[in-house]
Structures are given as C-alpha cells and as structure tokens.
Symmetry: none
Subunit: 195 residues, 4 copies
Amino acid sequence: MPRQERRQALVEVAFRQIAERGFEGLRTRDVANEAGVNIATLHYYFPTKEALIRGVVEHAMQRFRSTLEPHGSSADQVVNHMRAVRRLLGKEPELGAVMAELSLRAARDPAIAALLEETNLAWHRMVSGLLRRALRDGHLREDLDVEAGAALIVATLSSMTLPVLNRTDRMDDALGELRRWLGAPLPAEPNQSLD
Amino acid sequence: MPRQERRQALVEVAFRQIAERGFEGLRTRDVANEAGVNIATLHYYFPTKEALIRGVVEHAMQRFRSTLEPHGSSADQVVNHMRAVRRLLGKEPELGAVMAELSLRAARDPAIAALLEETNLAWHRMVSGLLRRALRDGHLREDLDVEAGAALIVATLSSMTLPVLNRTDRMDDALGELRRWLGAPLPAEPNQSLD
Amino acid sequence: MPRQERRQALVEVAFRQIAERGFEGLRTRDVANEAGVNIATLHYYFPTKEALIRGVVEHAMQRFRSTLEPHGSSADQVVNHMRAVRRLLGKEPELGAVMAELSLRAARDPAIAALLEETNLAWHRMVSGLLRRALRDGHLREDLDVEAGAALIVATLSSMTLPVLNRTDRMDDALGELRRWLGAPLPAEPNQSLD
Amino acid sequence: MPRQERRQALVEVAFRQIAERGFEGLRTRDVANEAGVNIATLHYYFPTKEALIRGVVEHAMQRFRSTLEPHGSSADQVVNHMRAVRRLLGKEPELGAVMAELSLRAARDPAIAALLEETNLAWHRMVSGLLRRALRDGHLREDLDVEAGAALIVATLSSMTLPVLNRTDRMDDALGELRRWLGAPLPAEPNQSLD
DNA sequence: AATGAATGAGAGTTCATTCAT
DNA sequence: AATGAATGAACTCTCATTCAT
C-alpha cells in the first residue's frame, strides 16, 4: 500500500481508538491489528507512539478546521456556524471526544498545547469576524461586545465536547438562548434545535 | 493512623496525581509512595485501582458540590455563583482538571457517568432555581427562558475545565457578557473580572 | 529469599551467561529463568539491565582481586603469583572471559573503563611491589627494570583471557621462559607447567 | 557498482562498526545505511548476518596477515616485527578491537575459532622462524627456548588488543624489556619506544 | 495494620529477514 | 541489481495485584 495511504489509515484507526478509549486506552498493537498490519509495520511508519499521536493531533485539527468555513448571508453566518458545530459534534462525537482528550493532554504536552492554541485562536478570530460583520450590517444587538461574545460562543460550543457534563439536549436550549441574546434572526433554513 | 484518615490521604494523593498527569498517568505505586505507604498497604485499603478511583470520584463530587451553596440576596445570587465557580476553577485548577478527566471517563464507565450526571443535574437545578427566584423578584430580563439560561450558564462555566481550549482571560469577558445578557445587576462587592 | 542473597544469585547467573555467550548474548529473561524467578522479580532487584551489568562488573572485580594476595617467601612470590593467575584462569575460564568482555566494553562505557583501570592499576602495583622486594633481597637479575618487568608480566597473564588467540598449553612455556628471564628460582613446591 | 566492490564496501563498514560498538552493537541496518544501500540490498549480497560476519572475519585475518612479512636483516627482524605490530595496533586500533572481539566470539563459534587458530598458528610459526634464524646467526642469547620465546612474544603483542586492560604506554616498556631479554640488538633505525 | 518479595500479563520497541516489484 | 513495504520473534521494561509474614 502507498506510503501516505497507510499512514492515513493508521492515524484514522488511532483517532477512533482515542475517541473510544481515551489516551489511557490507546494501544499500538490494537491500532496495528485494526488497521490489518503487524505491529512492526506501524513502527515502520511511526517510529514511536508519540509520533503516531502527533499524526492524530494533526488529523483532528484539520478535521475540525475544515468545518469552520462560514456559510450563508452575513445575517445568518453566526447562527449557521453555531448550528454547524453543534451538528458536527452531534454527528461525529468522536471528534469532540478527541478534542477534549487533546485539551487535557495539552496541559502536559507543550507541543499539543501549541497546536491546540493555534486552532483555538483561529476559531475565536473567525467567530469574532462573523460577529463584527453582522453587527456592522445591523443584524445584531447594537450594544454587543464582539470579543466577549465570541468568547462566549466558543466556550459554549466547546463545552459540548465534554460528554455527560453537558448533554446535547440541554445544549440546544442553551444555543437557542444564545441566539436570542445576540438578537440574531433565525436563518432561512429553519432549525428547531436552535430555537 | 485511623482507617478513614489513611483512606482520605490516599484519595487526595490520587486526586492530585490525576489532576497533574491524567488517568493516563495514574500509578498506584506512585500514589502509595507519595502517601508514604507501601503499595500493598494501598491495596489493603482499596482492593483494586478501580476502587481507589471511585474514592477519587466521590471526593471530587463532594468538593465541587460544597461550592454550590448560594450566597447573597436573590438579586446577586446568580452572579455570585458564576463568580464563585470561576474563582474556584482559577484557584484550584486541579478540581477542574479532574472533573474534565472524569467527564471523559464517564463515556466508558457507567458508574462514573451516573455519579457525574447526578452532580450535573443538581447543579443545573440549583442554577435554574436561582434564576427563577431572581426573575420572580424582578432582577432579570422578563423574557428570560429559565431552563435555557441555566443550561447556558452551566455550559459556559464547565467549559472552563478544559485547559488551553478556553483560556481564563477570555472567559472573564464571556462571563461579563453573560451577566449583561441576563440583565442582572452588578453585586455589591464589585469584581472587575466579571464586568 | 533475603535481599542480598537474591541479588547475589542473579549477579552470578548473569556473570555465567556473559562468560558463556558474551554481552551479545545476555538476556534478562534467561538470567531470571535460570535464577528461578520471574523477569519482573529481576527488575525488582535491578531496575535496568545496565544496573545488573554493574553488579556483574563489581562481582568480577572482587573475584579477581581476591586472588592477588601474594603467598610464600619474597623469593617465591613473583613466580607464585604468575602460577596463581594461570591456575585461576585455567580452572575458572569464566572469569577470564568476563574480564576480556569487560575490557572490550570499557572502550564504550566509561564507568566500566574506570573500574577496570582501577583494578588493573592495583594489579600492576602489586606485581611491581613483588618484583622490587625480590630484587632487593637478591632473588632476581640485578639489571631488571621493575616497572617494565611488571608490565610484561601483567600483559602476558592478561593475554590469557583471550581464548584461542593464546592457547593455555603454549602459555605455560611462555611463563616458564618469563621466569627464567627474571632469574627467579623455582619455588619450593615444584610445578612443571612453569618450567 | 561491481559485485566484489560492493561486497567489500559492506564488509568494511561492518568491520568498522564492530570495532566501534562490538558484536553487541552490530546492526545490519546501520551497515546498509552507512554503505548507502537499502537493507534488502545488503541481504542480496550477504544472505544472513552470519555471512556478513564471515566476510568481516576474512577481511580482518587478511589485514592482519599482511603485516606479518619480516623486514631487515636476520638480526633485526625479530625486533622489527614487534615494532611493526605495536605500530599497527597503535595506528589502527580498530584492527586490534576486531581481533579481540573475534577471539571472544571464537569461544562460541567453531568456524571463527578455526580461522583464528590458523592465523594464530601462522603467526607463531613466523615468529619462531625469525627467532631460530637470529639465534643461528648468533644475534640472540644462546640459551633461548625458541618455542617458548615465540609464545611469549605473541602473547605480549596480542594482549595489546585488549583496551584499558593493557595501556599502550606501559606496553612500550614491556616490549623494550622483552627485547633486552632476547639479548637482541637495537635495530639500525632507532625507536625509543622499544627501548 | 503493614510490608517486602514476587508475579502474569502486557506494554512499546527492535531487528534480521522476506518478497513483490 | 536494487528497493519499499512488511513481518515474526524477541527484547527490555512496567504495572496492578497477591501473599506470607
């Protein structure tokens, strides 16, 4: 199998394992088995377990960033974004689980911390950009503090990565309230779960 | 040393270890050493590692619940509560780290899930109770959805347990915005970080 | 089994393994098996393989040094010493093999180099001391260079640790010639192999 | 690259690796890398690691034998030979290291033992030949035992292959004493280190 | 109540070797 | 003639757990 394909396959298996069992339960042998290769083959592609984990981190970051692109009119983009992230985390809870695992690991691993902060900063900037534009176009409450609002949105959305602590059903209420607080209109394509 | 005291000492060491290194890095031997006893002694008090972890869970839950008691007038209680939790997580980041670790582990461990859900439910009820009373007393925006507001507050506060993903500095802005959105007054004892 | 006894037992097994198979063939599992304990038990006494090897080095040094004590009158001590070392290496070829292995390893391991040099220096000093006394007492050729003679004796004896390269049968001739060169008398207890 | 050249290149790399790290540290992959070829290519030329080692043994034997040719008058040949070997081992310690490694391995590998014994025998014969001729020509002490003398010379010289155990500085003294013992004159080209 | 000694199971990693291309 | 990919077997080391004392 071509080099990049096999690497990718191994990373995806490891990603899923972390989502299911946490870093605590990540075993290189299991990853190799599930990918259908010998453990020595895994080490042929990733010299150490840490190298494999770095691969997973990059994979997760890229997967998350790819959902950050805004859609719709400036009036709808903010709500569309909240909706998109909520959908993503609802449909692919693995991604949320891995992001939360990485967040915890970041406290002990500066390399992960750096990557995570970078991603997080990009996210925050994107959201505050959306808020600023919508505010300028008169779609939001006039007295809104853009930075604080972005922080609130990012915090609320990222809290969804913690299972149990924040159940999805309640989160829909919270996001609806958040929308109302923004003074934002319901987007064209209605979505009950946001209101 | 009396039985309960020794148990408590072991649990506290384990609690700290989890905060520092995650479940991933929890070693019974390290716990025993740091508590100044033999590994076999640890197993005398906690037959298995899981038993020790259950002890930690109970310890964490109790430690968290003890900060939930409301203070001040009905007008201030909501903001005081947000402030109290933010302070707690700022001053004792260990507790937040352990809560997040437990939250992730809950996805694989029904026993932890149950305990966590119970605590979370209690928290949510407490916050919605505060909101309801403050609303009745005319301290909040009249059109506030109590349940949704409570969910939003709990989500925002609990997102602070994820290091890096949500930096404390930004969170202060977010909490200030949250307060303004509630239409709540600043409590008597002023606190810049909440506005 | 008491701590020191078990440590000693493990070291002795490792010593024998090195003699038989070289460092190349030293396996912690084999050492543990032959000592009748689990591999984890070996690591209970010696945290790493290197620690075990250090134990072997000390054991070998001590075992060698214990044969360095001189015996007999000043006239006989030199020849008695050569005879004693030759006998030791003939009877316990393991010790010679391990010494040679250590000598090679010393080129890569400063810790071993230091220990070996120390032992070697002690040996050289002892031999030159014997030569000096015998010379003073008129038992040797008058024009003997004590230091050079000691170096020659030590070199010849230590060459016996290299199997094949120097077969024992030829070495007896060489040692006999060495004795004659020294002008030393045959010791009371006659020994054909030295003359 | 021509077949024989590539084989030779691989053998030389392996030779150097053994000198530097011992058999203990010989890795076919490292040899291949340092020779600039793929590991599979190495196995194309040497089907097994053992085959490569046999190549190294032959290489070492040949390299050593090529220094055995006597030079100078019959009076000087013995001392010239000692000098030549001492120089060789001083200038190319690799060769000594590999010879010692092989000597130890010979105890476990009959094939190596045979080759080494053959070389050793040739060496011994050559030295005793030199001694016999010099004795006949009246250049040496008349009562010299030729065989024993040869054994002593070979032993002393070969002890130089053991690093640390016999430091080169002391060996010069020993060789000088050896020369005096033989009653041999200093060769025309004076060399302080031998006297 | 407490411990030193011991272990089974399994972790990550290494390495000589093979094979299709 | 040469290689990238793959592997089985084995290696050192770790860890929760047990047990006699």
